[in-house]
């Protein structure tokens, strides 16, 4: 047996153990996640909340500020994605119409220059 073979085997075994420990047994844990990492159904439900509030408030700027939490995409795009998912997942028609209403409002809404989203 070559002299270097046991060393190589030990190294490979160590790396394997390290990977198993780091990926499976004790992986990096995320506790302070940002909303853009939310699962799509939770993102869609957040958009639905904003849409529910929008129906009463009729304030697209406020709705856009709330949606900005979900990422840097334009609010209309975020609402559009949520609408697509809600349709695909078979959301109740009432909820779908709420998201649609918000989506349409945001497509026509123009932010006032000088105001910033959070």
């Amino acid at each position: 047996m070559p002299r270097w073979l046991p060393t190589l085997i030990a190294l490979a075994l160590g790396i394997t153990l390290g990977l198993v420990y780091g990926w499976v047994i004790n992986p990096v844990q995320y506790t302070d996640v940002t909303p853009d990492a939310l699962r799509i159904d939770y993102r869609t439900d957040y958009v639905l909340m904003v849409a529910e509030a929008y129906r009463a408030e009729q304030d697209p700027a406020l709705a856009a500020r709330r949606l900005a939490v979900l990422g840097s995409e334009p609010p209309a795009v975020i609402a559009g994605e949520a609408e697509s998912f809600a349709r695909q997942a078979g959301y109740p028609s009432d909820d779908l119409s709420l998201i649609q209403e918000l989506s349409v409002a945001l497509q026509t809404w123009q932010p006032i220059p000088g105001t910033s989203l959070p």
Binding site: G18, L38, A53
Partner: protein, 284 residues
């Protein structure tokens, strides 16, 4: 001798390999988490989430849906978390409508009454000689939960939609408050000059979010109930300054409590200290 040296080589190489593997797994290519749940959100984003839940609830009045959504955040006591958030929002000077929505949901979850929105806080108020003891946040919230990677390809569970209510609750118009209690409190355990105010409705349930106005010769202060939920949702307090006489009234009107100043109390060894006052306002 040869065997022992051989084992050391093995062990060192194994540890080196382990370190390399761990560095790769933790630093260069850590597990990436993309399908997070709301309970893993950073605290400030949880606040955004709660605000959105409260805004939706203010719009549709669907308490069951709001409750289901709050469950996703993993707060051990959602009502308390909401009340604490309302306190933080007030302290941060956020829009009062947003604060009111959060406070209203907290109140509704507690089975409390829906209160009428307090008027805006004046911006040009003069700082009092005393100070509110409200800003301390003692609410305990769940520590940030950790998440584990989930298998991919599994069906995505959706929130169970709940039926909409047939009507949306609207804030009730407040009746003027009556001063029903004014007691001197001599308790050396309490802060000196502590003014405690409790606001209750006609059925003696405590009312959160009620605005109280304190005035004295050189200034005015507005405080709100419910910012210390651990002491009661209709509770508010304020530290009175010595030698200052206060008048206390509810912002919605009613009988004021006038001539309020911290009393002098005596301990068992004849030393004196500033006592407190406990006032109760009630909606008739």
């Amino acid at each position: 001798m040869r065997t022992r040296r051989f084992a050391w080589e093995w062990l060192i190489t194994l540890i080196l390999g382990f370190g390399l593997g761990l560095a790769y797994a933790w630093v260069f290519s850590p597990v990436k988490y993309v399908d997070a749940e709301p309970l893993a959100l950073r605290d400030n984003f949880k606040d955004h989430f709660r605000s959105a839940i409260a805004a939706a609830f203010a719009s549709n009045g669907d308490l069951e849906r709001a409750r289901a959504r709050l469950t996703l955040l993993g707060d051990p006591n959602p009502a308390q978390a909401l009340a604490a958030q309302a306190q933080r929002m007030l302290a941060a000077g956020e829009a009062f409508e947003a604060v009111q929505q959060v406070a209203m949901l907290a109140s509704t979850l507690q089975g409390g009454v829906v209160v009428n929105p307090p008027t805006a806080i004046p911006t040009d108020r003069q700082e009092p000689a005393g100070q509110s003891s409200a800003p301390s946040i003692s609410t305990t919230e769940a520590s940030s939960p950790t998440i584990q990677a989930e298998p991919t390809g599994t069906p995505i569970p959706l929130l169970t939609p709940t039926l909409r209510p047939t009507h949306t609750p609207t804030p009730t118009l407040g009746a003027p408050y009556q001063l029903v209690g004014q007691d001197t409190v001599c308790d050396p355990e309490l802060a000196e000059g502590l003014l405690q105010i409790v606001v209750i409705n006609a059925t003696r349930r405590q009312i959160p979010g009620a605005e109280i106005i304190l005035t004295w010769s050189s200034g005015e202060e507005h405080i709100f109930t419910g910012l210390k939920p651990e002491l009661g949702h209709g509770y508010a307090d304020y530290l009175m300054a010595p030698d200052v006489t206060y008048s206390i009234r509810m912002a919605d009107g009613g009988t004021p409590a006038s001539g309020i100043s911290p009393p002098t109390c005596t301990t068992t060894d004849d030393s004196t200290y500033l006592g407190g006052i406990r006032i109760t306002f009630q909606q008739p």
